[in-house]
Homo-oligomer: 334 residues x 2
DNA sequence: CTGAAAGCGCTAACAG
DNA sequence: CTGTTAGCGCTTTCAG
């Protein structure tokens, strides 16, 4: 690897002169500047970012923590983060935590020692004190797609409102008995979506029937059994509102296997709008959340924090941004 | 950040002693060792990996280049890579290249200056001299899921054989006129799959009809039009073999929209077996490739190269591994 | 067994 | 305008 020293030697100047021209050339004579740029070219010199990082205290690297990239909502988010990061000259380290808080802690502990500039955490569960600690320790952090509160930067959607709208749409199109597929209750966004469902029922004077809410047992796959059991039990329903697209896929599968036709026998709606949701049969009606934009904004906010911190030495006041969702009616609803 | 110096001061030893106990304690008296470990604990000291990297010349970081994480086959591969990497104490940087060779070059140029220990490239196109150069320059590289040859480590599947088997299965179950959805010809694996299709036809004495092969125009979405046009043109067919799962999804969509039923009117098979393929309606019959294992093995091979290089100073002889594919019959075929 | 010192490649005072 | 110097935090000879 060719170092600055060699460039300096070839250009017959000192390393500091080389360093100067490489970082803006303020106060360097044209003559020497030319010699340096020439030497740089001839040696095909590229500065060692690692050494720079050690000296400067930042790495232009951010960490992105997701539960699992295999969950369909994350590829788009990750892509948004990566694009925005790259545009700003940042590199992203991808961390799959598998919902395992210990794994996440280990990951963070390792990353901290490398001068990671900041963290986007899309995997936060309640009791994640290690994340709050990170923020308290002065690390730029932005939360997304899971839990967030007012103490840290975040970008999300109005989950309660989205669920309210989804349920409302089902009601408006004639559904009277709507199944709700509820995700893991530790994840607050599911609670919010549940609330939206209940509020929509109440405001349209539809009775709330406990038997119609399906609670995830272990893994998304469990909804297959849950819905099948409901069907067999004879409880009637004419609509299904899934709290996420991946769950909707398995619900749809169960409905098909039970011989029910969609949307004639039952309307299905969901929240997310993952890429495949428009392609499957039937195309899924959804409340769409702008996944890519969420990732993009999260990255931009993080970088803004990093810049702010490098200027002032402290983190800016936290701010949570809510992005708009949109109802997209396709063929799974009447 | 607490440094080794502070630990040394608290423990009343020199920094070299601290360094020694932290890296195995060879030749350190029990007494001092205890003093050091105690100081480490009390100060909650964590070594600065960046400084270590600068000194040692490696970072325990690998780069993973994919065309786009939004392509359904990559989340599983990425996950495999990340899991294997993490197990070995490595961190992965995710790079989406968008099939843009210039973007890829820029990415690599940036990464090289950071002492990246190696590259897994799942995005290689022909004429990727910058990748070969990387390898020539002594960087550990493993190729996967795209182009590869004998000059570099690689992990892949037998694409020709997989396509042969897929087509053969369609023939065996009664198809006589099989549409083939051909991906971008610059990507060799699609050529291989095309060859397998043709060989199966030949060996079963079915005529090869050019009109039955659909050539991707721009983007996977183009297959919708392509298939619709074929249907309208009146050319008969009773089977569709898609060269990848994402393409199969749009083909399925077109078939549905045209009012054809699957598999009664036409059988559909594909190569990949992405997670959602078992969930959609109808569940897709596929030749499955072990995506996760491919990623896992790629990472393990890369790390093996890194280790080998750090011991011997050179790269080990390249070796390409072929993983087994498997026919999975679901509901989209007769 | 232990510490002093050099140096990885770079930046940023500090003199001149 | 330019060069010398002192580190960033760590590992690793090299003496003792």
């Amino acid at each position: 690897m060719v170092s600055m020293k060699e460039v300096a030697r070839l250009a017959n100047v000192s390393v500091s002169t080389v360093s100067r021209v490489l970082s803006g050339s303020v106060g360097v004579s044209e003559k020497r500047k030319a010699r340096v740029t020439d030497a740089v070219r001839r040696l095909d010199y590229h500065p060692n970012e690692l050494a720079k990082s050690l000296k400067m205290g930042h790495t232009h690297t951010i960490a992105l923590m997701v539960p699992s990239i295999q969950n369909l909502i994350f590829p788009a988010i990750v892509r948004g983060v990566e694009d925005a990061a790259r545009k700003a000259g940042y590199t992203v380290i991808l961390c799959n935590t598998d919902e395992d808080i210990e794994e996440e802690k280990r990951y963070i502990a390792r990353l901290r020692t490398r001068f990671i500039d900041g963290f986007i955490v899309a995997s936060m569960l309640p009791d994640s004190d290690h994340i709050r600690q990170l923020h308290k320790d002065g690390f730029p952090v932005v939360l997304t797609s899971r839990l967030y509160d007012e103490t840290m930067d975040a970008v999300g959607i109005d989950n309660e409102g989205a669920a309210y709208e989804a349920t409302g749409y089902l009601v408006k199109t004639g559904c009277k008995r709507i199944v709700f597929a509820m995700g893991r209750p530790e994840i607050p966004l599911y609670k919010d979506r549940f609330e939206g469902y209940k509020r929509a029922l109440k405001e349209t004077d539809l009775p709330y029937d406990e038997r119609l809410v399906l609670h995830e047992r272990n893994g998304t796959g469990s909804f297959y059994r849950l819905l099948m059991d409901l069907i067999r039990s004879g409880v009637q329903f004419d609509g299904v509102f899934s709290s996420s697209d991946p769950k909707a896929y398995v619900l749809l599968r169960a409905l098909h296997d039970a011989g029910l036709s969609i949307p004639q026998d039952v309307s299905v709606i969901s929240i997310d709008n993952v890429d495949t949701s428009s392609q499957i049969e039937p195309p899924l009606s959804v409340i769409s959340q702008p996944l890519y934009e969420i990732g993009e904004l999260a990255a931009r906010k993080l970088i803004r924090q990093i810049d702010y911190k490098s200027r002032t030495g402290t983190l800016p006041p936290p701010q949570v941004d809510m992005l708009k969702t949109k109802l997209i009616v396709r063929k799974s609803t009447r």
